[in-house]
Amino acid sequence: MSNIALDTKPDFELAKPIHEVECTIISNEPVNGEYRLLVLNAPSKILDCEPGQFFHLLCPVSDTLQPYLRRPMSIYGYYPDKGELHFLYKVTGEGTSAIATLKAGDNFNVLGPLGRGFDILPNWQNLLLVARGVGLATLAPLALEARRLNRKLTAICSARSDQFLLSLDYFRELGATVIPLTDEAGTSSVENMHSIIEGLIADEGIDAMYTCGSNRILKLLQTVGKEHNIPGQIALEQQMACGIGMCQCCVRAFNRNGAIVNERVCREGPVFDLQEAIGC
């Protein structure tokens, strides 16, 4: 439902409506040993999304799996033309195990789109995206948006081994330059990543950097950003109850103007300024 009209009342921060709707599963298949792709048939009103936003998913309940809270999940793809919403997820516990049981044709209740997405400022022409593991799910829609805005995108994708390198083809199709790094090949060290990034900066320059997840990558990009004065953004995770800003459970600490401030990942985030973020 939630087709409750927002009438003439004050627009809360002029924000768009948040919808709670039942979607239908189109498919829910393993992508490799660790990840699954969930494709939903979704009404267009919830497909007015920004890269970096997320949905809050109501997991199905069965005899053996009884998750209670919703589960936050980044938008992996949104396609208003096809009426599709995609999530790429890793089965880690009760909630994601329950989501993995969904079959084509099942109903699935989602809440969103939620949170604040990535910015691509007009003068950011050369974009760098650095991600590891499932973090690519969060950054993928950024590639689509970059192409729409006609920006140049380089994606450094790190994983345990080739088989876990997700979405490379997807990034390539969107015209991105992809640099795959793996633990297996010994190419994923921070040092190597650092020298690759320095190379890119020296070569054609980088106007903005985007990442999510990994602490090591965060620290590296903060160093690089400071040194070369390159702005950046990071998508962060935190446990959530409401997902829309009411409960204050999803706070993380940030460094802002020398002080430590708490911000809600679901509302002020999940995308934050790279330099303000504090690793954990």
Binding site: I4, K9, F12, I18, M240, A241, C249, R267
Partner: protein, 314 residues
Amino acid sequence: MLDLTTQIGTLTLKNPIMPASGTFSEDLAQVFDLDILGAHVTKTITREKRSGNPTPRVCEVRGSMLNSIGIPSKGLDAFKTNVIPFYKNYDAPLIVSISAGSADEFASLCEDISVPGVAAIEVNISCPNIEEDGKAFAMRPSTTEAVMRKLRNATDLPLWAKLTPNTGETTEVAKAAEEAGADALVVSNTLLAMAIDINTKRPKLGNLMGGLSGPAFKPIALRMAYQCAKSVEIPVIGCGGISTIEDVIEYLIAGASAVQVGTATFINPPIMVKMVEGLESYLQSQGLHSVKQLIGSVVDQEASDGLVFMEAAP
């Protein structure tokens, strides 16, 4: 004509459905028109800025949740500047929840928040009484009465006392609050509970323990609401585990004059709207014309006299 209104002291609410403190904020305006609600209840505020408890602040337990949010607060001034004006755009009365660690600080905050735009003050006396032994004011009749008297003298606005389930003296505390001038009781806050991650052996909450809310808590809070409604004359506002229209009806039958919905909004953000609609259809289907016909309609007969005030044997 169906009459959904309910009376909480001098306040008439257009329907008995309102949010519970800490589970509601301006953000919900993005989900539905907040004027559908009987009242708006804010997250508890303190006078000073506070940052709240360490994370993780919530965890899931079988069919419910624990929280140890604490009371992060932007402070009184920020509240007056940013929050009160927002709610002035709505007709629904604004109920401000406040808290403090000592009775005097509580009273002075109560006085300072008694400003235009605020329709009633909910006093969260389920917070620790820092001057005494750290037990919440509402755990004992004596500390309840003492803090409520000071609060009563500090404001002319209606005072709603929010009780705690962490006591063996529910009815005595309810009577003490009434005695000291409360206009209504909110029954209740969360119940102290705990969960441990067996893999890490760490408590699942950063704060070790936290409050149980949600469906698992309903039978306990319903029992308290019933006990309170039987022991006091002032209205009782039921709160605890309400997730469906059937739960709303159960509380009204038990004697609650209105209800607060908390955790259910996290799972199902537009649920309060569905409850208002559901209440209307329920009354219609039962041939009732007013919510007031439901309130306290429990058929408990003689049984109630002897038993309500005696803690039942297992």
